[in-house]
């Protein structure tokens, strides 16, 4: 059937459209399929026995009572798992010779536990209820050892050792520097020093971790469903540790209820459950509960900074130098990316001529740290933004002006920094107009009129303040991401990718990109992600990378499919390839839509007919696979400003207004990007005001419920105003930059600046986040004693 329309409208643009998400109808009806929803015949359930000590020797494990508990099928310890694993120790996530050996966690701890929550045994039972009964009946005889709670103490020569096997508690130290700081500081008009701290928090997706493993002894193959941000890495790791071929391990990430870094790791628990399934020949499920998430899922952000800034009389930065201690936790499952990112993120959007930072990665008897949304960037940014506020304060300059004087100007783009990223490439800010972002936001929030507003509020006895901060983040980290685009004889278009959907709207975004290249609507497209059977390789979801990397692969693959379809149609219609367009499921002659071939027919032809030739010069299958490799990272940026009110009597901080500018280059779906920015900001607000993972001096975690560890709730968040600037990136064919983490990065800095501003009368300067009311009242008291009448009047 041919279309009867004589002249055809160009297809509507898909990239840039506020398309409704293809993920949603299922989820809105309660028909999502999360890992906890996976049900199999004969399914068993696991519960881990976890250490109540921050540091102890495991003398004996008595499992007799547990084995007698109704419902319990097995109790496995390290010794049992060793029988089925090639190694009891997890592989290092980012292998490097720069780190010492024997630093990764064990699947189950064989003889020493090094943080509260470390698993020593696994109870398998007929339900989670009975598995917990069994876990409660396992008796572990521990010999407690001294524990290290604070990463600064860990560096003291007299400190107890975090793990007996380590030479000391310093995992590694490194120095990042360029220019000549000593000279710059010697000749600077001003030098100011700050001691800063960011506290630990958790990722806390509302869905915790979880895995189902089903070993098929006949096939010697393992099926795995996991709530993970990296299904291929999980496939490879399980294969390696269980001594199976990759082909024998099939991993599916079903719907993932948020990640935020918590699932960006192959965990000991995942390997333990896979091993248990093989040992027992039964499917085994483990769904992490919140109590476990608090003690055994990764955390981030515990860093102490002791830094100095050198500035000239106009507030121009001459140099930044200092030292930072990063709390790594008890083991190193992945690498030192948080510490490295933080160290390289300090200079951010600014021109910093001289820089020198000594970094100490210290181990403590706490759960290990890897990136939580922001991945070191919030810490580095906090350092720089606090220093710039200090310069403004001391030199009595406007905070906005100090930034204006130091920003990398738009005219300097692309701007190559004298620093290298983890992969060894120079950090190159590829595009953006940071000053324009700042100016626009300050206009929207009426910065110019704020002094008057603040004065009026003060007359009513109210303390309001305005603060702001910049952020820049490298996004689209390589080495590649995979995409296969395929049109089947049914006409359905399938996009398969190694990128991971964990709630961001990845499927919709990739569908929009494919739809654009194939002249169709997103309804024609199915997206498969997180399934290792759908595509052979993939890297996964982290570092705000997927729209850049998977998006580019999808675009290039879809273009290739488009080209293939046109080549075939050109042979059938006997016209030139260049005269053909693909749209609405057909290849048609431009301007002559009645001359067309349906894609279904082309797909049928390229599927091959036994014994007959394929159309010439295109190969089999109306499909293409691309592993696009970024040559450089795309640097997204943001500028946030907020208004707060502080109650000096209680230390309570209320957010009154929040305006955020995001530049993520070309927007594939502005609604999705806005949503990501909202979530990022609120995560940052949690870090700024609420989320405090408290440990006592013996490294016992204290804030281990959602009643004690406070996530921001709807009543604490003002309406968020999100603005966009679109500076396309030349680093990728879409012109996009990443989004996910960027919204989180400047928040603690902006809120701290606003609180300083609100409490200027008291001389309060925020040096640590989260800003908790007790600490704030202490600072106010101290300021009260210090302040002079002149300061009060100002």
């Amino acid at each position: 059937m041919h279309s009867t329309a004589a002249v055809s409208e160009p297809p509507p643009r898909q990239i840039g459209a506020r398309a409704r998400r293809i993920e949603d109808p299922r989820l809105l009806r309660g028909r999502g399929r999360f890992v906890a929803d996976v049900e199999l015949p004969g399914l068993l359930h696991g519960a881990f026995v976890r250490s109540p000590h921050a540091h102890a020797l495991v003398r004996t494990i008595d499992v007799d009572d547990a084995l007698r508990t109704p419902g319990v099928v097995a109790v496995l310890t390290a010794r049992d798992l060793a029988r089925t694993l090639t190694t009891l120790r997890m592989p290092l996530g980012f292998p490097t010779s720069a780190l010492p050996p024997d630093i990764t966690p064990f699947v189950l701890a064989p003889e020493e536990v090094c943080f509260v929550g470390e698993a020593v045994a696994l109870v398998i039972a007929t339900s989670r209820y009975t598995a917990e009964d069994g876990a409660a009946a396992v008796f572990v005889d521990y010999e407690p050892l001294p524990a290290v709670a604070d990463c600064r103490d860990a560096l003291e020569p007299t400190s107890p050792k975090v793990r007996r096997e380590a030479a000391d508690n310093v995992l590694t130290k490194f120095n990042l520097s360029y220019g000549d700081c000593a000279d710059a500081f010697r000749h600077a008009a001003h030098v100011f020093r700050e001691e800063l701290h960011q506290h630990r928090g958790g990722a806390h997706p509302i869905e915790g971790r979880g895995i189902v493993a089903n070993f098929d002894a006949q096939a010697d193959a393992l099926s795995v469903w996991s709530s993970t941000q990296m299904s291929h890495e999980l496939q490879f790791t399980i294969a390696e540790m269980l001594g199976l071929s990759e082909q024998s391990v099939h991993v599916v990430a079903p719907d993932v209820g948020g990640g935020f870094g918590a699932k960006y790791l192959v965990y000991p628990e995942e390997v333990a459950i896979a091993a248990a399934s093989r040992l027992l020949g039964r499917p085994v499920k483990w769904i992490e509960d919140r109590a476990e998430h608090f003690v055994s899922a990764i955390q981030e952000r515990d860093q102490y900074w002791d830094v100095e800034i050198a500035a000239d009389a106009q507030g121009r930065i001459l140099g930044v130098r200092g030292r930072m201690i990063h709390d790594q936790g008890a083991y190193t499952p992945q690498g030192i990316n948080c510490a490295y990112n933080a160290a390289t993120a300090v200079t951010g959007p600014y021109v910093v001529p001289n820089y020198e930072l000594d970094v100490f990665v210290a181990q403590t008897n706490k759960v290990f740290t890897i990136p939580v949304r922001g991945a070191g960037y919030p810490e580095g940014t906090f350092t720089m933004e606090r220093l710039l506020d200090r310069v403004a304060h001391e030199l009595q300059l406007d905070r906005a002006l100090v930034r204006e004087r130091n920003l990398v100007p738009a005219s300097a783009m692309p701007y190559v920094k004298p620093l290298r990223n983890r992969a060894g490439h120079p950090i190159t800010l590829d595009s953006g107009d940071y000053l324009a972002c700042q100016q626009k936001v300050l206009e929207v929030i009426d910065y110019a009129g704020f002094a008057a507003r603040q004065r009026r509020a003060r007359e009513e006895g109210r303390h309001i303040g305005l603060g702001f901060a910049h952020a820049v983040k490298g996004t689209g980290r390589g080495p590649f991401e995979s995409a296969n685009v395929k049109i089947g004889p049914s006409g359905r278009i399938t996009v398969s990718t190694g990128a991971m959907a964990m709630g961001q709207g990845l499927a919709t975004a990739l569908a929009q990109i494919a739809a654009e290249a194939l002249g169709t609507d997103i309804d024609a497209i199915d997206v498969v992600s997180g399934d290792t059977a759908a595509i052979s390789m993939g890297i996964g979801g982290f570092a705000s990378r997927q729209t850049v990397t998977a998006g580019s692969s999808v675009l290039l693959a879809a273009r290739e499919v488009n080209e293939k379809a046109r080549k075939v149609a050109a042979q059938m219609l006997e016209v030139s390839v260049d005269d053909l367009v693909v749209r609405d499921g057909r290849v048609e002659v431009r301007g002559v839509p009645q001359m067309s071939v349906p894609l279904t027919r082309i797909a049928r032809l390229l599927r091959g007919i036994a014994g007959y030739d394929l159309p010439k010069g295109v190969g089999a299958g109306l499909e293409a696979t691309v592993f696009w490799e970024p040559e450089a990272m795309a640097y997204a940026n943001a500028f946030h400003a907020c208004e707060v009110e502080v109650d000096p009597a209680t230390g309570g901080v209320t957010l009154l207004r929040y305006v955020a500018m995001q530049d993520s280059g070309t927007l594939v779906n502005p609604s999705i990007v806005e949503g990501q920015v909202h979530g990022g900001i609120v995560h940052g607000i949690g870090n700024a005001l609420f989320e405090y993972m408290r440990y006592d001096d013996d490294a016992q975690p204290i804030s281990t419920t959602f009643a004690d560890y406070l996530l921001p709730t709807s009543t604490e968040i003002p309406h968020l105003e999100v603005l966009f600037m679109e500076s396309p990136s030349a680093t990728n064919p879409l012109g996009v930059k990443g989004v996910g983490e960027v919204g989180t990065i400047p928040v603690t800095s902006a809120v701290a600046s606003a609180v300083d501003d609100a409490l200027r009368d008291y001389g309060v300067r925020i040096a640590a986040v989260p800003i908790d009311p007790v600490r704030l009242v202490e600072l106010i008291d101290r300021g009260d004693r210090r302040r002079s009448p002149a300061q009060t009047a100002r």
Binding site: R20, R21, E23, D24, P25, L27, L28, R29, G30, R31, G32, R33, F34, A36, D37, E39, S127, Y129, H204, P205, I206, E207, G208, D255, V256, G257, G258, F260, I287, D289, R290, M502, G503, Q504, G505, S671, I672, E674, G675, Q676, H678, G679, G680, I681, V682, H683, T705, F706, A707, L711, T713, S714, T715, I717, H719, L720
Partner: protein, 165 residues
């Protein structure tokens, strides 16, 4: 009359989404686990199991309740409504539609509980404003959306319901 379950198994008949459902559970089984594991209504999610996150919120006799803080046995004689009962197989309810139109969800894990709370709120207060919506939502944790588009979707549903004949 006292019902005691000295035995290990309780046979329950529950009214869930308008249907009588049979389940045999241990007395300690929470309503959430009964819905999920026995009745296979997996749209009700567990996020914290200590009554803070709100992901497991269902309606019990028309009122929201944390199903992790109720025993399955306590739901006997009550009408229980879960996310699966909101629109069934039919067209999306205005609230669900508004969530789709206004990008009111991301990972979708907290969404079922949020929808149950807003169903109750919009029934009790059909003209709920942003403050009332934020107040009702304060019993839910969402890590993805920053709540903003949840609030926007709820306001849009209020508008839609108001305009309905």
């Amino acid at each position: 009359m006292t019902t005691s379950s000295e035995s290990n198994a309780l046979s329950l008949t529950l009214d869930v989404n308008g249907k009588a459902c049979e389940a045999t559970v241990e007395p300690r089984t929470t309503l959430a686990d009964c819905l999920r594991n026995e009745l296979h209504l997996t749209g009700t999610h567990l996020g914290c199991e200590h009554g803070v996150c709100g992901a497991c919120t269902v309606l019990v006799d028309g009122r929201t309740a944390r199903s992790c803080l109720m025993l399955a046995a306590q739901a006997e004689g009550c009408r229980v409504t879960t996310i699966e009962g909101l629109s069934g197989e039919g067209e999306l309810e205005p609230l669900q539609q508004a969530f789709w139109d206004r990008h009111g969800l991301q990972c979708g894990f907290c969404t079922p509980g949020v929808l149950m709370t807003l169903t109750e709120l919009l029934r009790d207060e059909p003209n709920a404003n942003e403050d009332a919506i934020r107040l009702a939502l304060s019993g839910h944790l969402c890590r993805c959306t920053g709540y903003q588009n949840i609030v926007a979707a709820a306001l849009s549903a209020v508008e839609c319901i108001r305009r309905r004949p």
